[in-house]
Amino acid sequence: MSKQEMVLSSAVAKQYNAEKEPKGRSLWADGWRRLRKNRLAMLGLFIIVFMTFLAIFAPYVAPYDPIEQLIWTKGRAAKLASPSREHWFGTDLYGRDILSRVIYGTRISLTIAVAASVVSLVIGVSLGAVAGYYGGKVDDFISWLTNVIYAFPFLLFVLSIVAFRPASLTLVYIAIGFVSWPSIARVVRGQVLSIKETEFVEAARAVGASDFEIIFRHILPNVIAPVIVQVTLGMGSMIMTEASLTFLGFGTQPPTPSWGYMINQGREYLLSGQWWWSVFPGLAISLTVLGFNLLGDGLRDALDPRLNK
């Protein structure tokens, strides 16, 4: 997560702090109505749904097996074949179909985005909720931890975790998730701080509800909206981070069709004129990240009435 999103998220948090009244169903209904009117956001949603569809149905959509190497049977002709009717995106050095690899690559990118988000949600929501709810020393400690993680340039931190260990997808999303939780923790903390003083939480406390119950029943449901915005915006940069890692040669192992790795493999051939090996995966990354950014922006506007004039 870049500092940019951090600034935006604190802005989001501030606005939510402004409305002390927790909202129920109407917020979601209103939000969806506003979102539907936002054409760019709908485009973003469409891109993400499309990519998810490709990921799920990859075996049916992809024309070839993504790891099948045609050079061993078809020889030189199959190697780095330029885009044609048989291979829309061309083939790579081993005669693998790049379109199929790009399609299967959605699985890697979306897995990273989802799994890393889960990791950062688990850490971020629990730490943020605890910090906001209990305040005092606990809050100080967690805020300090957040600031420490923030102080690291994001990519450097992830690289330091990943570089010395054998490459695997699990390691990558844990590392990314582990570094991205502070932005979520901040949003949650801010929300909890403002909600816990409201009347209905006071009421729950008076009835004798436990802390645990109050946090989970009454406070967290109200935090969902800003967290969704945060997570959506974050997914784009998580995908970008995974691509950056694999581009630098860390984080993934052949024959996994990771987009960043494909760009890395294809770059040598890019400069000798076989542009398709690295251009198509690059486009795929851009499109997916664009989708998440558009949707994230749209969600922020839709779920935050104040910004909509």
Binding site: K3, Q4, V148, F154, L156, L159, F164, L270, S286, V289
Partner: protein
């Protein structure tokens, strides 16, 4: 104001202590025995034992951490495993190149971002507006290293407008592509921010008054609207300066730029822990300081912010 500065500085100390602890954990809890790796092919057990002793690897962890802490705060992080260069010297000898690149990237980002942001705002819903906002979206979404590769392909190989990668002998022309690549993302963010805050200001009464008074469009835009739209833009510029310093890791790799980012990737490849530790501390320190400056400048630009 002075007290605010002092308080912020003091507040940064515990964060930096935490950073040191995390760096220690990141570079200590890794598989493999560094002493054996350092000893290399000719490493007999005695050599390895000696290296272990010299590096203090046989000490208990908390002693090692304390020693590392001491060496970190005294800027005495030892020498590179790989070529025996002093860590400070290794980093400081590369930093000017990185700083130059980051600065140039920022200048490009500000000029490009603000210009297109202003034009977009003034000519809202025009073709120009749509084009520049679309480009801004692409700029945020496309991987910078990939754009860099495409730039090299187009501008060096095909068009031959740029003589090559690296720094040349410091000629300006070598700076253009890497700085542009680095600047695209912040430029896009600045453009969007400028546009939205300009729009907000333009709609306000006093600007309408200015229009009504018959002031030229240029005067209105530049003198009145822009001045007030600057505050959020300044913040973004500062914030991006800090994140640029981590973006250079990728860009320096693509353009073979001899800066701290490339040193870091190289150190990772060779497990050069003193360099890795030094770099992370250095960049984290830089990060903390630039965040501080951002906050301070924000305070300067926006008189509504209180310092207590």
């Amino acid at each position: 104001m002075g007290r605010y500065v002092v308080r912020r500085l003091v507040g940064a100390i515990p964060v930096f202590i935490g950073v040191i602890v995390v760096v220690f954990i990141l570079t200590t809890m890794v598989p493999g025995d560094p002493a054996r790796i350092m000893a290399g092919q000719a490493g007999n057990p005695e050599t390895i034992a000696r290296i272990r002793k010299e590096m203090g690897l046989d000490d208990p962890l908390h002693i090692q951490m304390w020693n590392f802490f001491k060496s970190a705060v005294t800027f005495n992080l030892g020498r590179s495993y790989r070529n025996n260069m002093d860590v400070n010297e290794a980093i400081l000898s590369r930093f000017p190149a990185t700083f130059k690149l980051a600065l140039a990237g920022m200048v490009i980002a500000i000029v490009l971002g603000m210009t297109s942001g202003i034009i977009s705002a003034v000519k809202q819903y025009s073709v120009l507006d749509y084009t520049s906002m679309l480009l801004a979206l692409v700029g945020i979404s496309a991987p910078s290293f990939w754009i860099g590769l495409l730039f090299i392909y187009f501008f060096c190989v095909i068009l031959r407008w740029i003589p090559g990668t690296g720094t040349g002998n410091g000629e300006f022309v070598y700076l253009i592509l890497p700085a542009l690549t680095l600047g695209i993302r912040p430029a896009a963010l600045i453009a969007r921010m400028t546009r939205s805050s300009m729009l907000e200001v333009i709609r306000q009464d006093y600007i309408r008054t200015a229009w009504a008074k018959g002031l030229g469009a240029k005067t209105v835009v530049l003198k009145h609207a822009l001045k007030n739209a600057m505050i959020p833009v300044v913040t973004i510029v500062g914030v991006q300066m800090a994140s640029l310093l981590s973006g250079v890791v990728l860009i320096e790799q693509v353009f073979q730029w001899p800066g701290v980012g490339r040193l870091f990737v190289e150190a990772l490849t060779y497990r050069d822990f003193p360099i890795i530790r030094g770099e992370v501390l250095f960049l984290a320190g830089l990060f903390i300081i630039s965040n501080l400056l951002v906050d301070l400048s924000y305070a300067l630009f926006d008189p509504r912010i209180r310092y207590d």
